[in-house]
Amino acid sequence: MLDQEIIGLFWQRDEQAVAETNAKYGKYCRRVAANILGSREDAEECVNDTWLKTWNAIPENRPTYFQGFLAKITRNLALDRWKRQTARKRGRGAAALALEELEECVSGSSNVELEYEARELYRAIDSFINALPEKEQYVFVQRYFYMEAVQAIAESLQVRDNHVSVILSRTRKKLRRYLQEEGYEV
């Protein structure tokens, strides 16, 4: 079924929408969640939450990019879940590693308290990502959005791990410079 047909089902409040979404993007979303949570069971629960959130969200929104829309919901739900888990027990995993890497882009003190500032920040990051060369953009999003392991990205590109690490390091430095230029205190 085409994405727009599935979205139409959501609009009509037809529960078949969830079944169709699960059939088409279930495994994809489970993969996104599993990257962050590292557990099949947690990923499954997270994806169920994704369907619920999508069900609630779509009457207000009509996403043009349905797959990206689902990925964002899944990723952010998984990240919230991961934060709750790590608050109880110090965990590691892909998200922790990605967080450590991003530390070099920022100072650690919060200055993004207002909703407006937060919205501007992700817009700035979106612009930054879209201005990156194709390969760097791919590597950056795979690592920090999907939280893919460096090895998995290297294998998908058929390059050495070190090459991906170099791209990531260079891009993080670029991001730090970019955020500074945009007026963020990093």
């Binding site: 495994k27 043009t64 990019y65 937060a118 920040l121 992700y122 990051i125 060369p133 963020y184």
Partner: protein, 528 residues
């Protein structure tokens, strides 16, 4: 900003960006798997269309990101689930990567290089026929084990294991396996971009990790070798520089082999020293672990070329300027002195202290009061103010003399070390603006303020008095010894006068030897 806020913000990027990236993921996988096959298929299409057999294969991404393989007549051949849409596809098990250095034989084993140089073959690689030259390998058995993916369009030909590039191929035959290296495409003109892409698997500046530059070696006279040593070797690792170089390489057109008529790297009856100065040989290291070692560059005509007369289009003035800068090539304008290696303009070299003394109008012992280094066209010139403590030979009236110490050009790690040494260990004035330090000159023995030294003073055309020798002339005092290093004083293989061999002797012996040499000699006229 906190890292958590940054991670959250990345999670809110537009759905369009996320979705585009997801689709890119599918494309990359599909492209990597069929990149070679598609190239061959494209050539096959051209043939088959003519024969009315339109049956090419096409890979089309589906809306959900899966990849479907279609024939030209619309028949679906296969369909692969997208990695995100279907089961997460395990990465294909990669064959072990074979380093070419483990297969290459040193000269003397197996066939000689001379014999192998005659064995060339054309391998059809889709749109191009490529000329390959056999190279000596350690053994047929080792090559058999190192076979990678078979070429679809040429039976019996294999990539190296773990390689996607085509720089080296293995050919299997009843006589055993042999190793072949890419030379050029058999085409009158082709873009070098195609060579980088198809042969070396290089598609952007990011795919290049470093470029090692070495001096051109077309002149092996003493002067040519000396200049080669001065130029030495150095690496480019700066990513911006590598991108610039990649773009320039991609812009070039290759005109195939045996085009010496197009290649001009200078040279005349008097030798090719200037060709050495303007030439660099490249070793381009890619991120996949291969080294492209075929390209040579000459600033004489601003062009790249290769072994066997493989010629490339000349660079534009702007491109040439960029490459010359990246390669640290400075070719003097017509009529301009090149300094050290030049003929009449350069300072005279001496074979012995006796000869040196013959030209000197004084030999003095002095103490350095001031030192100031500067950079003139990448040459270091250091000016010292030296207080004369004692006159050992000739006549000397001034209490303080100015001494010019010309240097030479040096680059790379050696230069950095030297500058660091000078900066940290010697008070030689302001050298911040020195891009290159001197190797053949005296910079490695730069005098510091307070140092004592013996100076052989010879006349210079201008007012300043220069220390003598090929590049220098000071006899540095260090720990009670006089250093008269042959490389410093320009004495070639060494100093022939008794007692000076090795370039180091006690100060008392130096003075005694000098006294003996000076006896009966008449000092030169400083104003003649």
């Amino acid at each position: 900003m906190k890292k958590e806020e940054l991670l959250d913000a990345i999670g809110k990027i537009s759905s369009e960006t996320v979705e585009r990236n997801s689709r890119k993921s599918q494309e990359i996988r599909a492209q990597r798997r069929v990149s070679w096959g598609r190239w061959v298929a494209a050539a096959a299409v051209a043939v088959m269309v003519g024969a009315g057999l339109f049956s090419y294969r096409q890979l089309l991404p589906r809306e959900d990101g899966a990849v479907q393989e279609w024939k030209g007549d619309g028949q679906l051949l296969s369909s692969r689930e997208a990695p995100f849409g279907g089961d997460w596809e395990k990465p294909e098990e990669k064959a072990p990567f074979v380093e070419i250095s483990t297969l290459l034989a040193h000269s003397g084993s197996g066939n000689t290089m001379e014999e192998l140089a005659l064995r060339m073959v054309q391998v059809n690689l889709g749109q191009y026929g490529a000329q390959y030259e056999e190279v000596a390998a350690i053994s047929s058995e080792a090559l058999e084990k190192a076979r990678g993916e078979a070429l679809e369009e040429e039976e019996g030909w294999y990539r190296l294991s773990g390689h996607e590039d085509l720089q080296y191929l293995i050919h299997a035959s009843e006589q055993g396996d042999t190793l072949w290296k890419f030379g050029w495409f058999r085409s009158e003109e082709y873009p070098y971009r195609d060579v980088l892409h198809y042969i070396y698997d290089v598609d952007s500046g990011d795919d290049i990790q470093a470029v090692l530059l070495t001096a051109a070696d077309m002149d092996n006279s003493d002067a040519g070798k000396k200049l080669q040593e001065e130029i030495g070797e150095y690496e480019i690792r700066d990513q911006e520089a590598l991108k610039q170089l990649y773009d320039i390489l991609c812009s070039m057109t290759c005109y195939g082999q045996n085009r010496w008529d197009l290649i001009d790297y200078g040279g005349n009856d008097e030798g090719m020293v200037e060709s050495v100065r303007a030439g660099r040989y490249l070793a381009i290291e890619t991120d996949k672990g291969i080294v492209i070692d075929a390209l040579k560059y000459t600033a004489v005509s601003g062009m790249f070329y290769e072994y066997c007369g493989v010629a490339y289009s000349r660079l534009s003035a702007e491109e040439k300027e960029t490459v010359d800068r990246l390669f640290r090539i400075e070719v003097p304008e017509e009529g301009e002195s090149t300094g050290a290696a030049d003929g009449e303009d350069s300072l005279r070299e001496y074979d012995s202290v006796e000869d040196l003394l013959q030209d000197s109008w004084a030999v003095v012992k002095g103490r350095v009061l001031e030192a100031d280094s500067g950079n003139v066209r990448s040459y270091i010139y250091t000016t010292y103010q030296v207080e004369v403590l004692e006159v050992l030979y000739g006549s000397m009236e001034e209490g303080i003399i100015a001494v010019n110490m010309p240097g030479g050009v040096l680059a790379g790690e050696e230069a950095r070390e030297m500058v660091a040494e000078v900066t940290e260990g010697k008070d030689a004035g302001d050298i911040k603006n020195i891009g290159n330090a001197s190797s053949a000159g005296n910079t490695d023995r730069l005098l510091a303020v307070g140092d004592e030294t013996y100076l052989f003073l010879v006349s210079e055309p201008e007012d300043a008095f220069g220390a003598v020798g090929g590049y220098c002339g000071e006899a540095l005092l260090e720990d009670g010894n006089v250093l008269l290093d042959s490389s410093i004083a320009g004495f070639g293989e060494g100093i022939s006068v008794e007692g000076f061999q090795g370039g180091r002797m006690p100060e008392s012996d130096f003075r005694e030897a000098l006294e003996e040499l000076a006896a009966g000699k008449e000092a030169a006229d400083p104003y003649s």
